[in-house]
């Protein structure tokens, strides 16, 4: 790493932590922000980067990405995920424990932490399994896993169906101030379902997943949070009723937060069209009314964070009849561009959007980033919010190409990504 300071000048600074927006610059020294504001003095020894009026903000923090290491390096490695993330402006990725072996052992967490440090150009923080083997039966070693570097506890794409297990986990986690992140989808109500239940699924002849698969689990969890006081984050909600449930829980002052995937803010069930398996997701894409409700919940703060739900799947798992295809879509590289649609449609302000992509995740996870302030880590991005492009999946850095935005017109490109004071990505055109 170069110790030379870097001065970003002529930038449109957006600090989503304070909501402040101004022209100015940022001086980076020793991996942290040394100065920020309209008048940042030129340091004699600094390398100068002219942002040309483009936006400079804290890097994105993505609370949900599946990475195939260990166990599925052909889908994604820590290295390839890091490159994809850097190109997408994501400076910190929370990796899910659904690996092989699962991240339920302190030694495996330790491996991920070291391996990520050695091979990934962005920060990768592992979330550990909440239950042993992700089986939903026995609580994992929350204390030891946290000591080893686990940033949160979750069974990843699985839900803990046993309410007693969830109660005890929430109770126990509170002693360690550990965050429990839960995928809220009751597998029994999902049953054989593969897409949102309703008219469109019936027309396609596909078994549906009712919204209640999500709301029943979410309601249960919130009752258990009220009982235990454990810190709880619903990984992703997808429907209007869930937003109501979270809104009510927050109204009661419960330690509840939630996320939404970029897919559920951008797409609806109709996008599945003629059985496009890249749009087969968990939770499934819902009705347009639900998507609208997600946007409203994002604007009013009911939804705290936006995640990529990056889930690389190879061709063998996707080039199958819809019902047999794997769930998931890649999303690290398109997270920001897809989210910027909401800004261009004037639904969400840019500072609020960045707040949900950076500041709130940092706050929930207890990370020092997500803000433009002196002393904060120099995890920064420079992006042109208006630059148009058509996504060609062959350009994706991810090892898997299952993007729901393939061939989509998008606006907004990351020009430069910095992690801990080091430039890890820079677009040729900058």
């Amino acid at each position: 790493m170069s110790n030379q300071p870097i001065l970003f000048k002529n930038a449109r600074l957006i600090d989503p932590a304070s909501g402040r927006e101004e022209r100015g610059g940022v001086l980076v020294r020793d991996g942290v922000i040394a100065a920020v504001g309209p008048q940042v003095a030129q340091a004699a020894d600094a390398q100068v980067i002219d942002c040309g009026g483009q936006v400079l903000s804290p890097g994105l923090i993505d609370m949900r990405a599946f990475i195939g290491e260990p166990g599925g390096p052909y889908r994604e490695t820590l290295k390839s995920a890091g490159e994809a993330a850097a190109a997408g402006g994501v400076t910190t990725v929370v990796s899910m424990p659904d690996t092989s072996p699962a991240l339920d052992d302190p030694a495996v967490i330790d491996f991920i932490v070291r391996r990520a440090r050695d091979t990934s150009i962005v920060n990768i923080r592992p979330a550990a399994a909440l239950t042993k083997g992700l089986e939903g039966q026995e609580m994992a070693e929350i204390g030891r896993l946290k000591e080893a570097g686990a940033i949160a506890f979750t069974d990843g794409a699985r839900s803990v169906t046993n309410a007693q297990v969830m109660r005890r986990a929430l109770t126990y986690a509170r002693d360690f101030d550990a965050l429990i992140v839960h995928h809220v989808e009751d597998p029994d109500l999902v049953g054989q379902g593969v897409m949102n239940e309703g008219e469109f699924a019936s027309r396609l002849g596909l078994p549906g997943i009712p919204r209640e698969a999500e709301t029943v689990m979410l309601e249960r969890d919130i009752r258990l949070v009220r009982l235990t006081g454990g810190r709880y984050h619903a990984a992703m909600i997808s429907c209007a009723d869930s937003a109501e449930i979270v809104r009510a829980a927050k109204g009661l002052g419960l330690p509840v937060t939630c996320g939404v995937s970029i897919n559920h803010l951008s797409l609806n069930e109709n996008d599945i069209g003629d059985y496009r398996t890249f749009l087969k997701l968990s939770p499934p894409l819902r009705h347009e009314d639900d998507r609208q409700a997600m946007i409203e919940a994002l604007v009013d703060g009911t939804i705290d964070v936006i995640v990529s739900d990056h889930n690389p799947q190879d061709v063998e798992n996707k080039r199958l009849p819809f019902a047999e295809a794997a769930n998931g879509a890649v999303g690290l590289e398109t997270l920001l561009s897809a989210a910027l649609r909401l800004v261009h449609e004037e639904r969400v302000s840019l500072p609020r959007l960045l707040n949900a992509l950076s500041t709130r995740p940092a706050e929930i996870l207890g990370l020092p980033g997500g803000k433009l302030s002196v002393g904060a880590p120099a995890d920064l991005i420079v992006f042109d919010p208006d630059a148009p492009y058509v996504l060609d999946k062959r350009d994706l850095r991810s090892l898997s190409k299952n993007s729901p935005f393939d061939e989509a017109r998008l606006q907004g490109q990351v020009m430069l990504t910095m992690v801990a004071g080091r430039v890890v990505f820079q677009r040729d055109t900058m």
Binding site: K132, E138, M139, E141, I142, R144, T171, Y172, R174, D175
Partner: protein, 293 residues
């Protein structure tokens, strides 16, 4: 008889037990039945020795081979035993309240040797005696009871007795092993050993049952020992002259390390000796109230 007097009486029994001739005649001609529905080597033999040293005829009812296995109810067992005219029945049962129920159905004295997660009064008395002998008092001491409070009758009896005798009782455990609402009963609770043991005079460890260690109440033995097992490092949070207790049987390497269990601050062996003395005192105190037919 108040508690201090009972402990004084127990103190005198210590001397009896240390003599070569250990037999007294307080309970001569009396029949004591030890009715243990739950296996317990330590408590049962302690009551047996105590009864015998006081001259009683002691009968150990082996529940495993008794009619209980054939489906007899607790009340029927009580009525049957009552017909044999015992003077004292010592009962251990796995259900809270069972000893109380049995006591309503018999004419003789009943001693609770532990009922479910409710109470184990003679254990608390022997712990109090052990503390008093080593610290000279109980009042004003800070006692940290650590571990599986939720399932522990030892904890409940000690909480009541030691608090009544003026000790400051703290409970230290992961939240999953703390009984809900316990803080409202006036006990300070801690989920960190470091905070809970700070300035403690007595560190009382509890046994963690095997079936509770593997992901149900705590994730694993390793994790439990790491955060709640008493080792030298955690003991150092307590006062330098703090003393360590454990009702036994111990899980070494689970709730307590061997070097602490066998170390200079440990009272664990003395507790066993005091067990016999306290049970003699309890039986002798009862004897003075037994009818002289």
């Amino acid at each position: 008889m108040d508690i201090q007097a009972l402990l004084d009486l127990a103190e005198s029994q210590v001397e009896v037990s240390r003599q070569i001739e250990k037999r007294k005649s307080t309970l001569r001609g009396r029949t004591q039945i030890n009715l243990f529905f739950e296996a317990s080597t330590r408590t049962q033999s302690s009551f047996e020795i105590a009864g015998k040293r006081l001259g009683a005829d002691v009968l150990n009812m082996q529940v495993g081979s008794s009619s209980v296995k054939k489906g007899e109810t607790l009340i029927d067992t009580a009525v049957t035993l009552n017909a044999m005219r015992p003077d004292i029945i010592v009962v251990r049962h796995h259900s809270a309240g069972a000893v109380h129920l049995l006591a309503q159905k018999v004419d003789c004295s009943v001693v609770n040797a532990g009922d479910g997660a409710h109470e184990h009064p003679t254990q608390a008395l022997l712990d109090a005696l052990t503390i008093r002998r080593n610290k000279g008092r109980i009042e004003g001491l800070t006692v940290a009871i650590c571990g599986d409070i939720l399932h522990s009758r030892v904890a409940r009896s000690n909480m009541i007795l030691l608090a009544a005798m003026g000790a400051r009782v703290r409970l230290v455990a992961p939240s999953t092993l703390l009984p809900p609402g316990i803080a409202r009963l006036g006990f300070e609770t801690f989920t960190s050993m470091k905070e809970g043991l700070k300035d403690a005079d007595i560190v009382m460890m509890l046994r963690l049952q095997r079936e509770r260690m593997n992901g149900s109440f705590v994730p694993s033995v390793k994790e439990y020992f790491r955060f709640y097992g008493l080792d030298q490092e955690k003991l150092a949070f307590a006062k330098p002259d703090a003393l360590v207790m454990h009702p036994g049987p111990m899980n070494r390497g689970v709730e307590i390390s061997s070097d602490v269990a066998d170390g200079a601050q440990s009272l664990i062996r003395e507790q066993v000796e005091m067990g016999v003395a306290v049970r003699m005192a309890v039986l002798e105190a009862l004897a003075s109230h037994l009818p002289n037919r």
